[in-house]
């Protein structure tokens, strides 16, 4: 039995290697060109271009510039899809509320102490990834999922009761999640609203000065570039993702006693 498993694993690996050889020889269609295409060249030239701001987003990170500026509406709908799935989870478990006093009190003291050292490090990493999204690799989603991992880790190690006693609740997470999404929405129409109020032309998802519009988001914070909307988008996205993922984990970890309550509430709503 053991030998058979090894043989199967080795043959699968061999098959993948052969497939990789076929692909690299161009057997499954043409390979991607090694030189940059025109589109990539223009993104790279314009992501941080203070000499031609009308086509630039003044972001040192081209990926974030593409994700939240050049292709901002796509990303907005991606965020909305995640939000809709969180809404679905909380709709199925409507009436769910954490009840203190059931379940364990977390893991052993050794694990708790070492986690106490670890949690601030994860928090700092997540916040810095989110805040530096327009300068270094990363951004709102990455930073937000780091912070969500922090909440999941704290739930497992310190027990749910410990956190509920200190004010964690699924209702509050849902409110944070909605605040994050509203912030993304507000940032995307901020310049349009200012333009309407002042009678100047402006665009939705406008970041810097564009052709036909002189409005611009703040370009510098002290001596650092902010990337205009990118900083705001990253902060709000981090908030929304952290609260959303933590909410999903919290609701999925519900206990027997709470299931009954949630079901009863669901029947009451019907």
């Amino acid at each position: 039995m053991r030998l058979r498993e090894v043989v199967v694993a080795v043959s699968v690996a061999l098959m993948v290697l052969l497939l990789a050889y076929v692909v690299s020889a161009g057997g499954l269609g043409p390979l991607a060109p090694r030189e940059l295409r025109e589109l990539a060249r223009s993104y790279l030239a314009n992501a941080y271009n203070p000499w031609n701001v009308t086509q630039s987003s003044l972001s040192l990170e081209a990926v974030t510039a593409i994700v939240w500026d050049y292709r901002g509406i796509d990303t907005f709908f991606e965020t909305s899809v995640l939000f809709a799935s969180i809404v679905g989870v909380s709709l199925i478990f409507r009436g769910y509320r954490e009840r203190p006093g059931i379940g364990g009190r977390g893991l052993s003291e050794i694990v708790k102490t070492s986690t106490r050292v670890l949690l601030p490090l994860i928090l700092v990493a997540g916040v810095s990834i989110a805040l530096h999204g327009h300068l270094t690799p990363g951004g709102g989603f990455q930073g937000g999922s780091f912070i969500a991992v922090l909440l999941v880790l704290a739930t497992v190690v310190f027990s749910l009761d410990f956190l509920v006693e200190r004010g964690l609740a699924s209702g509050r997470l849902l409110a944070l999640r909605s605040a994050g999404l509203l912030g993304v929405l507000a940032t995307s129409v901020a310049l349009l609203a200012v333009g309407l109020a002042l009678g100047i032309d402006a665009y939705i998802f406008q970041n810097m000065v564009r052709e036909g519009s002189e409005l611009s988001m703040p370009q510098w914070l002290l001596d650092r570039p902010t990337g205009g909307t990118l900083l705001f988008f990253n902060v709000f996205e981090a908030l929304a993702v952290a609260a959303g993922l933590a909410l999903a984990f919290l609701v999925l970890s519900l206990r027997e006693e709470e299931v009954g309550e949630a079901m009863a509430a669901g029947e009451w709503h019907e």
Binding site: S145, V156, F249
Partner: protein, 83 residues
């Protein structure tokens, strides 16, 4: 050509195949979760080596942190061993 990064990616890919096979074959569901986390770690390494640090940064917390946590939670609600 850059030989070192591509060979690192190849080794990580082979490791991920072995981990995936073990995850599918394992009758102990907790062990299957761990194998799938190993596979995710290998993928995160591949993303990093192929110059996609943005994807690596999102892949590590989601598929090594949150996904195994949720799956372990679900395994706890059913049974640990597959029939």
């Amino acid at each position: 050509m850059e030989v070192v990064p591509i060979s690192i990616a190849a080794i990580a890919a082979l490791l991920s195949i072995v981990a995936t096979y073990l995850a599918v074959r394992s009758r102990d569901l907790l062990a299957a979760v761990v194998f799938s986390a190993v596979q995710s770690t290998a993928y995160a390494l591949i993303y990093y080596v192929l110059m996609a640090p943005d994807i690596a940064l999102v892949y590590i917390p989601v598929s090594v942190g949150i996904l195994p946590a949720v799956t372990v939670m679900l395994v706890k609600k059913t049974e640990r061993y597959e029939e």
